[in-house]
């Protein structure tokens, strides 16, 4: 399709505009992290580095960050394994109830977080009698992040077809060897993209987390929420957000490199 120059420029302009809107609130957050106003009033009455200093000395923030990373890493691992298994099953096999399984994967993300939250809370506490802990959060997060890996992997599998795998099998490679040497390398960037999204979903989740976190389990979003109720902490939260956005460039960049390298090979 040949887009006219005008169309390209229009699209480009729209894109720039959208990005502008996307970054406007982040700009506000960035400015607020230097604001002298504890109520984040706008425009800031003055500027200070106080909050940056305080944020980096805040053991609570650091601990919450670590908790969030731990939860997200384990939940992502779970999602990667289960998501890959289930997409292989659904893409490579035809069986009765396939649609139901498909629905089952989508359901935890499709149903509102508060439903998932109270259902799991009720299940863990009253039915199973397990005290809430960091593991209940991990289980909950693992459940609703499966779908991001599943989406990415199954799309890739569909595009790949089975010809390479058949060739591998014809050449006498076993199932495991074929997976390791043929299927997996082709899935790598899809897994990375799905995993990254799963990580992001888990990292920023607050509603399900509220209902499944045990005592002393403070993920970063919960830490932030608590600070909204605490005097004199609001700007520190802005600092944390700015730092996170900056740090996040690294994994996203890697994911992009992986994908586009494959794109060039294609």
């Amino acid at each position: 399709m040949r887009l006219g120059r005008g169309a390209r420029i229009t699209l480009g302009a729209i894109t720039v505009l959208i990005l502008g809107v996307i970054y406007l609130p982040l700009f506000v957050v960035g400015v607020n992290s230097f604001s002298t106003s504890q109520s984040l009033s706008w425009p800031p009455p003055g500027f200070t580095l106080e909050w940056w200093g305080k944020a980096f000395r805040s053991a609570g923030a650091l601990e919450a960050l670590l908790t969030s990373v731990q939860v997200a890493v384990v939940a992502t691992a779970v999602a990667l394994i289960l998501g890959t298994l289930i997409s292989l099953a659904l893409q490579r096999f035809d069986f009765f109830g396939k649609n139901v399984v498909n629905l089952l994967v989508i359901l935890p993300i499709a149903l509102p977080g508060i439903v998932t939250g109270i259902a799991l809370n009720n299940f863990f506490r009253t039915i199973m009698g397990v005290p809430l802990s960091i593991w209940t959060v991990v289980i909950a997060h693992g459940t609703f992040t499966i779908v991001t890996v599943f989406n990415n992997v199954i799309a890739r599998l569909r595009r790949l077809g089975t010809s390479y795998e058949e060739a591998s099998a014809d050449l006498g490679a076993g199932i495991w060897t074929t997976f390791r040497l043929v299927t997996f390398p082709q899935l790598r960037s899809a897994l990375f993209a799905g995993g990254l999204l799963a990580f992001a979903l888990s990292f920023d989740e607050i509603i399900v987390t509220t209902f499944t976190a045990g005592q002393g389990v403070t993920t970063l979003p919960i830490f932030i929420l608590n600070n909204m109720f605490r005097p004199n902490q609001a700007p520190i939260v802005s600092v944390i957000a700015v730092v996170l956005v900056l740090i996040s460039i690294v994994p996203i960049y890697i994911a992009q490199r992986l994908t586009s390298e494959e794109g060039q090979k294609r």
Binding site: M1, L26, L82, L107, N122, N151, L197, I252, Y253, S260
Partner: protein, 294 residues
């Protein structure tokens, strides 16, 4: 390719090759166990709870069958109003997100060169990490009557919508936008350039090509995006607390009944509303065949 060896692994592999059912079972057992045991059982038990009641003195749940909660939820004017408002917000958010995501995703996938594309994906993904709450509070600041939006719009005679349903729609659209852009971008990315060229070689006008060739191909991706924005909006109760003024959504009612009233049965009955809506929505998009391609 390593030479086949006569090991146990090799034998297992041969066995599995000739027994696809076993292969399937091995693949699907763990995920099914996880989703079935953890999620489905939890969900079913929650639904059962909707048919129980709670003792108002002690907060203990009384496990005798009653339809009171269901009847309250179906007939109560409050629940109808709030359901309508919530669905309206979720639909508006979804429409806005798709409308914004389509051009930017198309630009990223089909117009931008590799370098620009990489930068754009990073630019779209980065806000995901700025924490839901921080972004919601940022919008609170942007939308306030002395906020940056008022400051920008005042010279051209515009005004900030202030806090309320509109603010909630704007903020939720903003929060879920990356989750809608990404699948649609991936969808456009999967449309082979050759197909577009073939269409235009055959004389297809740009718009026609888009509508007849591209849209059917990215439709499943759009649906995937809408599932995110629709369902995430449907269950939200935090954003509406922050920018929604005095409004409440279904999520708030569920939350109040779990927390304040300590009435899990009623909360479960209210939770049935979004569950039914989502199932309806999924059934609708399934009919279009979109889910099979998800």
């Amino acid at each position: 390719m390593p030479r086949p060896r006569g090991t146990a692994a090799r034998k297992g592999s041969v066995f599995l090759s000739s027994h696809p059912r076993v292969r399937l079972a091995l693949l699907i057992a763990a995920p099914l166990f996880w989703l079935g045991v953890v999620y489905i059982i939890a969900l079913v038990l929650l639904l059962v709870t909707a048919f129980w009641s709670v003792d108002s003195f002690t907060g203990e749940i009384n496990q005798t069958l009653t339809f009171d909660n269901i009847i309250t939820v179906i007939t109560g004017a409050l629940y109808q109003t709030v359901t309508l408002r919530t669905v309206g917000i979720a639909l508006a958010v979804t429409v806005i997100d798709v409308a914004i995501a389509l051009p930017i995703a198309f630009f990223m996938a089909k117009v931008a060169n590799n370098r620009t594309r990489r930068l754009l994906v990073i630019a779209v993904l980065m806000p995901l990490w700025a924490s839901y709450l921080v972004k919601a509070y940022a919008w609170r600041s942007v939308l306030s009557s002395e906020g940056i939006l008022e400051w920008m719009l005042a010279p051209i005679g515009g005004h900030t919508p202030g806090y309320g349903v509109t603010a909630t729609i704007i903020t939720l659209s903003y929060l879920w936008l990356p989750y809608v852009i990404l699948p649609i971008f991936a969808g456009f990315d999967r449309v082979p350039d050759s197909m577009l060229e073939a269409s235009s070689d055959l004389g297809g006008k740009t718009w026609r090509t888009l509508r007849l060739v591209v849209l059917p191909l990215v439709w499943p991706a759009i649906i995937a995006g809408t599932i995110f924005s629709f369902s995430l909006s449907l269950g939200d109760y935090i954003t509406v607390n922050i920018v929604g003024g005095a409004s409440q959504m279904l999520g708030n009612l569920v939350y109040t009944n779990v927390g304040a009233a300590n009435n899990l049965p009623l909360a479960a009955a209210i939770a049935l509303i979004p569950i039914v809506i989502i199932f309806g929505y999924l059934a609708l998009v399934r009919r279009t065949g979109a889910l099979d391609n998800l």
